[in-house]
Symmetry: C2
Subunit: 361 residues, 2 copies
Amino acid sequence: MTTDNHRYCVIMCGGVGSRFWPYSRSNRPKQFIDFLGTGRTLLQMCYDRILPLVPKNNIIVVTNAMYAALVKEQLPDIDPEHILLEPCRRNTAPCIAWAANHIYAADPQASMIVTPSDHLITNEAEFVNRLRAGFEFVETHDALLTLGIKPTRPETGYGYIQIGKEVEPGILKVKTFTEKPDLELAKVFVESGEFFWNSGIFLWKASDILNAFTALAPDLAGEFERGKGIFATPAETQFINDHFPACPSISVDFAIMEKASNVYVECVDFGWSDLGTWSALYDNSAQNPEGNVTQNCNVMTYDSTGNIFAVRNEKLVVVSGLHDYIVADADDVLLVCPKSEEQRIKQIVNDVQGRFDEKYL
Amino acid sequence: MTTDNHRYCVIMCGGVGSRFWPYSRSNRPKQFIDFLGTGRTLLQMCYDRILPLVPKNNIIVVTNAMYAALVKEQLPDIDPEHILLEPCRRNTAPCIAWAANHIYAADPQASMIVTPSDHLITNEAEFVNRLRAGFEFVETHDALLTLGIKPTRPETGYGYIQIGKEVEPGILKVKTFTEKPDLELAKVFVESGEFFWNSGIFLWKASDILNAFTALAPDLAGEFERGKGIFATPAETQFINDHFPACPSISVDFAIMEKASNVYVECVDFGWSDLGTWSALYDNSAQNPEGNVTQNCNVMTYDSTGNIFAVRNEKLVVVSGLHDYIVADADDVLLVCPKSEEQRIKQIVNDVQGRFDEKYL
């Protein structure tokens, strides 16, 4: 299995998950929580579904320095050298550029999956099959491959990918990337059959993405070119701490994918959700006969329906006469908010920061 | 001030406060909480208003053994020998019989106030004046004196006292005690001007209440008579641990006050509430312009009115779209319940006990 040994996975888990505040807190964001009450955190679920695809020792986790202990605790099998600690937040492009340099330095033939750590995939067998096909494609083509999810509803919260010509079964040239559409446009997209959700899961050879950075994001690439000979050596940490903060905060979609000419989409349908909203979490969780989602926490309800309870640990929640609310509690913060007003949470988090600084974030 | 030196106060603080569960928990009931957000617990507020009435060293606290540390922490000035620890709960009659024996053994001339620790009195100057008058009355009469509160509404949650002939200004013979009336009857009571709320605050000489126990509750009195010579000595603790559990669980109202012929009522009006219900707490607390009661806890509200928040410590509570609810949180329990359904809480506590035993009580 020579090929397998050159296959890598980069799990990005530096996000703060503020849309799920306070269930997701800055000291323990969404990906580090048993978010669905399954007994495994989202990061652990991500790791589990990657294991059939790449050698265990080829899994790299990129996270913020403050989450080092959480990653080690939740993924004890990962060699600490494979946990890349960002000294500050800089969105996905610098994260991926670093990880690609790190992997390429150790293995110039490497191909790699890049995946967020906080998504849900319900059909893991299909996920593995399609990712294997993706690996084979990028290993034999100069290609940046993104996974496009077959849309199931006119979602306005996602970016869409318009497909072009099919080059292999299920793998097509990308025509355009489209930012979040309004509902009218989203309906047209879904009905056309030509648009897929942009999942944020990518495959490519390390060499191909590094070439793309050099060509399309030269400033960013330049920061990392100074580290030639340093990646995957003991000096890497100091180099990153010195130079990573200088990187622009920019997404890989904007820096590379929307500009590159060698971008392809693998159209997949394996039960995906980015779990990006409380509604998405509610929809993807088991509801009890009263339509409450309790995620295995201790909840007792009286005359209460359609609620979602997101509560950590051994806390007991008792509610009476509550319908269609979010009840989220973690440590020293409690939020009670109608599900229909979840877009207000962003404002609330801002207000909390304005009043209490970082204390309750 | 010879007279003052024979004046004592017994503060009863062994209750569990289950009507305010989970804000009041069995490990820290209502009287040990800064219930009104004033910076002092109800027990401390009770102690503070007694101080002008009796020498500090004549204040006795009777509580359950499990609350010994809380009492010492909250009332550091009290000599530990003045904290009487009940080995089990036996309602007010055994509690008062013990305290009276304890005080009488040290001072046969003693007169005493007996007061719950978890009530609110807003006009403390008037309280002090009326209690001084009460002391003078019981010190010069063979009398069991109860404080009757001038009713301000047809409350159905309290017992009422029907007044008889006035024997001194503001002190009258009791005609009858009446259990909690229905609303119709309560209205008649209030309009008649002849009925007062039974406050549960008493004054008497230690000798008079002990005589009453002997005459009217001989079984109970008998348990304590075995301890003659032991009260207020180092052997008292062991004696109580051995004999207190054998006492019947009975209230002093039922055991003595409703039967004795020498019962008087001092009619007072000093802003009293037993803080016995969430509604009483809400009514006696400062409401912000949205009609929310926050008791100085960290609460941020959006489109929310008429709620009461009872949350300990540094917890931040954020609510949106919530009207007229109780939000109570302590440690590992959260309750959200409409104020109009607070009578459901008793059932909830039963359900919690049935499902989790003592864990969340």
